[in-house]
């Protein structure tokens, strides 16, 4: 692997007394899709959510170890969490557009961060919607409520809202679990397209999805990262017995 975009070292996470992540270490390279697979409750979403510190406010959470992004530990005291989240954006399981117009959804972050206004803002909104392949369908409906869109369109809109603020890394937490198979395939194509510009991490239940789109795969079980490596190797020739059992469908 070339450069390290994200470097996790000996990360432990506790929800009160529950040890949810156990000594996780891994490195993520830029402009690749890294997927994290594993059965429900194995800690894969928890791991993903440590990368933008969106779990910070949960009562009783405790984290040890380091998560370095572009070389600096994001859990250092005084690290600017808002700046971190501008760099590390997230797409959630359920599409969650704001109850605003399509345009206002995409422009939301840009306006609050005062990154653009007027014609520049219009241009970024257009570009972002083009990147998620919504522009042609929606260019005449920008003032309509985002809640009128289909689930797939909503998820695309959420991705457009995110890339409008120009993050570096995109975290996707089971982004297709609310979608039908066709919509899922189209979102997958989109992700492959997006990795040219972004580093992408995706948590998924769906092993085929991980096999189809990701360059690297990590397999988690009961809070441990059992195995991490090139996707083709994880799926065809895993080093660990548990990984093999899981990817061959013997459990999970």
């Amino acid at each position: 692997m070339p450069l390290k975009k994200i470097d996790v070292e000996n990360l432990n996470l506790y929800y009160s007394s529950f040890h949810a992540l156990k000594s996780v270490s891994l490195s993520v390279a830029p402009n690749r899709i890294t997927s994290i697979i594993g059965p429900s409750g194995c800690g894969k979403s928890t791991l993903l959510r440590t990368f933008n510190r969106i779990n910070d406010t949960i009562e009783g959470i405790k984290i040890t170890g380091e998560v370095r992004i572009d070389g600096s530990n994001i859990y250092d005291d005084g690290y600017d969490v808002d700046a971190l989240r501008r760099k590390v954006g997230m797409v959630f399981q359920r599409p969650n557009p704001f109850p605003l117009s399509i345009y206002e959804n995409v422009a939301f972050g840009l306006k609050i961060h005062a990154m653009a206004s007027g014609a520049v803002l219009d241009a970024i909104v257009e570009e972002s919607l083009k990147d998620v392949l919504l522009w042609d369908d929606l260019k005449d409906k920008l003032r309509r409520s985002a809640l009128e869109l289909s689930l797939e369109e909503r998820q695309r809109l959420c991705i457009a809202r995110l890339i409008a603020v120009k993050p570096d890394i995109i975290l996707l937490d089971e982004p297709c679990s609310a979608l039908d198979p066709i919509a899922t395939l189209r979102i997958e194509e989109l992700m492959v397209e997006l990795k040219k510009k972004y580093t992408i991490l995706i948590v998924t239940h769906n092993m085929q999805q991980a096999a189809r789109i990701s360059d690297d795969t990590g397999f988690m079980l009961l809070g441990e990262l059992i195995e991490f490596g090139i996707t083709s190797k994880i799926f065809t020739n895993p080093a660990m017995k548990q990984t093999e059992d899981y990817v061959t469908g013997r459990f999970g």
């Binding site: 808002d82 700046a83 501008r86 359920r94 969650n96 704001f98 109850p99 972050g109 609050i112 959420c158």
Partner: protein
Amino acid sequence: MNPKLAQKIAFVFLLIATLCVIVPVLIILFIIVKQGYSAITWEFLTTMPRDGMRAGGIFPAIVGTLSIVLTAISITLPIGVGAAIYLNEYAGDNALTRIIKLSIVNLAGVPSVVYGLFGLGLFVIFLNLGVSILAGALTLSIMELPVIITTARGALSSVPQSFREASLSLGVSRWQTTRYVVLPNALPGIMTGAILSIARISGETAPILFTAAAFYVPHLPRSMFDQVMALPYHLYIMSTQIPNVPKNLTFGTALVLLMLVLAMSLVAIVTRVYFRKRRKW
């Protein structure tokens, strides 16, 4: 007993229990409208009382009630919503917030006459505000705080967590998220609560008895430090303190007060229905 028959009896009983709610409302409305409508004239609504309250209008009492109530709500709304935001969006679950929440519950249980005495002691005498609009409004605003906090917290927690997460995940700070995502979506609920509070405190007598209300003031209030006449207190005076007040004047005053309260409740209901239709999450 035959279960079908038992069910029938139970449903009939439950229906009767439900009807018991409507009946007093209708009776009250009927009596007050019947006895009071003849008093309602333009003159009644817009002139001073005359002849020791036995004739003339109730204009100063309407103005007095409105000024106390609007002042009270403009004090209690920002404080109550602020507290609700703090409790709902920022505060963790610790000893301090548990004490705060317990205080809110207790504040809601204090009888209104106790608020009246408290207002007399603190605002009228200790802070030397005198019997005045301001003292009465402050007293009412403290009484209404727990209601505002509770309804505002309800409105804030009905905003889906996913909106907050979406906003935070764009690098938007917690305060900006509260300001631009949570508050706008909670606003209809907060407004409804505020309007209902206005309706509720318009009819309160005990808290303003010692702090704001005057028996008779022959002019409209000139400042926040003036005593004023107020509808509920005026009603009390006309029905108990002055002999030979024409009955329709007393009931007319009650009718005006009732209409004021009902109109505001109606506004609250319309607001709620309007916004509920628009939101779909």
